[in-house]
Amino acid sequence: MSQTIDTTAPGGSGPRQANGVAAQPRRWRLAAYPSLLALPAVLLLIAAMAYPLLTIVSRSFSEPEWGLQNYVWFFSTDVNIQVLLRTFSISAWVTLVCVIAAYPYAYLMTVVGPRMRLVLILCVLVPFWVSGVVRTLAWVILLQDSGVINSVLKAIGFGGVKLIRTPTGVVIGMAQVLLPFMILPLYSVMRGIDLRLVQAARSLGARPALAFWQVYLPLSLPGVFAGAIIVFILALGFYITPALLGGPRSTMLSTLVQSQVLSLLNWGRGGAMGVVLLVSTFILLALAAPLMRQRHKQASRS
């Protein structure tokens, strides 16, 4: 999970620190080369991202010998393809659940008073401060066959549902962990939407639902897209939650990678899996890009 965060956020605080320390004695040199400010972050990225990534790519082509055998193996094994497709479909479901859950929540954050807003933001952030493992174990308690959810369902007269070790359980758990990544970008876009536009639409004859649909929703889409991309990409690389909540029929690619590399010590095959995931993610992003670009242009117009 932390690896994927690095790719999306290229070093936010590094440059500022560099400015404070290095700029004092030799300001003229930094002023001449402003790109130097990015140096610490770039070094970190090279050390933490580029080097391991290159190693993985090269090992996927070179172990046990040079050639494409690891990729041939990956695409000729049904289970691998199944798991790859499942990884994408579970990530898509998680994204969908996050959009549906986050949208009204983020909207609420924009309309309540400042004190209530603080409470809502805390509700989003507090889970961040709890380790992912703990949160996932909490879901085990909730979702297991004799867990809280099933007990309640039985108590009010429904039959139990199988949640733990199913894709549904994995989606629920992952959506909860990833929800903040959806709520925060959505909130930051919604906060900038002028509610008087909705009032204007009403004065022009739109009933409230229509004013929302035709004015508010389109203006909030950049936030939806931004959040969806972050959540989707993070979900693709998820390991702990699917491993703890999932069963054999909800294995995701990261679990396979883990068993190849750590259990079977097969770096070549594990690396090939990682590269396949990376490349297919890029392809998907490239497909989504035109849509995004259009939205961004509109957002900058407002």
């Binding site: 009032q199 009403r202 004065s203 022009l204 004859g205 739109a206 009933r207 509109q298 117009r301 407002s302």
Partner: protein, 372 residues
């Protein structure tokens, strides 16, 4: 937009005893206002006086705590905003940023299910009216503030509402553009015959535009009248000070017979009217009704005179403006025509005016407090 039958198109508005409270705060306090069909009515007042609240009540964005509201003879209390068929122009334009100018203006027509051909015709006519026809394919962010506001105006009139509300539509624009758009709005009002209700806190703008002006202060209407009535016959000190320039003088008053005399800075002056019920009087004088004479020259019987010194002299091209500091420290503003005698700072002068131009009003400390 059939220009042939103007005047019948505007709706009358009747606001009766409208009160709006937010908790213990009263934003509108028993406001009653009748607006005639096709009239250009301006709501004028300082910040926080309840102008926007009044407009929002008519538009349907805010509910009244108590009172009656009817448009075109029918009560519209409880009718939701989208069913009121009232055009609204906002201070910050409120154009939809994700739609082109053409789509923005077509929006109310689309909502009304008007078919494409007719829709395009009416959008073009509305954009022509505000001289924005060449910009139909631009997005709002590609327009200047003045252009955006003209598009907003087109969008608010394109569906032929019998009533158009405007909340400080020119407030964010610079002076030159504002003056030009004022004339445009006046022309459009004349061509449409729609009832316009216009909010501003700029008294000059109100005078330029309006058939009548309602002066708001602290949630109440102080006076309703034409610009001339408000300027010449202010009902309260607040109105007198809010509309145009003025000088106020205070002093000990004595009433005898039909006239009141005051002692201001040790000199006696006479007013032509008297106040009922013994309210504390204050004299309100307009700068162009005052004249200056070199100190200690004899005056006519019909004139009042006070001695003071010129403390500021400003050449205005069309004449001069003086500040005269009187013996009690109060300051009078005088506008003198070009041909009048010129004075320099420090000169001792007599400030003179006809007794008939000297109006007494009831003193009211709120008038000063709210003029910030």
């Amino acid at each position: 937009m059939t220009t042939s039958k103007t005047r019948e198109r505007g709706a009358a508005i009747d606001i009766r005893n409208a009160t709006k409270r937010y908790g213990s705060f009263t934003a509108l306090d028993d406001v009653s206002l009748h607006i005639k069909p096709g009239e250009f009515m301006t709501l004028l007042g300082p910040s926080g006086s309840g102008k926007t609240t009044t407009l929002n009540v008519v538009a349907g964005f805010t509910d009244l705590t108590s009172g009656e509201l009817s448009v075109g003879g029918e009560s519209i209390l409880g009718v939701p905003a989208h069913k009121r068929n009232i055009g609204v122009v906002f201070q910050h334009y409120a154009l939809f940023p994700h739609m082109t100018v053409g789509k923005n203006v077509a929006y109310p027509l689309t909502l009304r299910g008007i078919e494409k051909g007719e829709r395009e015709k009416r959008v073009r006519r509305a954009l022509d009216m505000v001289k924005m026809a060449d910009f139909a394919h631009r997005y709002p962010s590609e327009l200047s503030g003045g252009q955006q506001q003209r598009v907003a105006l087109a969008r608010a009139i394109v569906f032929d509402p019998p009533l158009l509300l405007m909340d400080e539509p020119l407030g964010a624009l610079d002076k030159k553009l504002r003056e030009w758009l004022q004339l445009e709005i006046k022309r459009i009002h004349r061509e449409l015959g729609t009832t316009f209700v216009y909010v501003t806190h700029d008294q000059e703008e109100a005078l330029v535009l309006s058939d009548r002006i309602a002066v708001f202060n602290q949630g109440r209407i102080e006076q309703v009248g034409t610009g001339r009535e408000l300027y010449d016959e202010p009902a309260t000190l607040f109105v007198g000070k809010f509309i145009g320039e003025s000088t106020t003088l205070r002093g000990n008053a004595e009433t005898s017979g039909g006239e009141t005399s005051l002692t201001v800075a040790g000199q006696r002056i006479v007013a032509s009217n008297k106040l009922a019920n013994g309210a504390k009087p204050v004299i309100l004088l307009r700068p162009e009704k005052l004249s200056l004479a070199p100190g200690n020259k004899p005056q006519a019987d019909s004139q009042n005179s006070l001695t003071g010194n010129i403390s500021e002299a400003i050449y205005l091209g069309s004449g001069s403006k003086y500040q005269v500091t009187l013996r009690d420290g109060s300051v009078a503003i005088v506008r003198a025509p070009l041909e009048a005698q010129q004075f320099a700072i420090g000169d001792e002068v007599d400030l003179r005016w006809h007794i008939s131009d000297c109006k007494l009003l009831a003193d009211d400390e709120r008038a000063d407090l709210t003029l910030t």
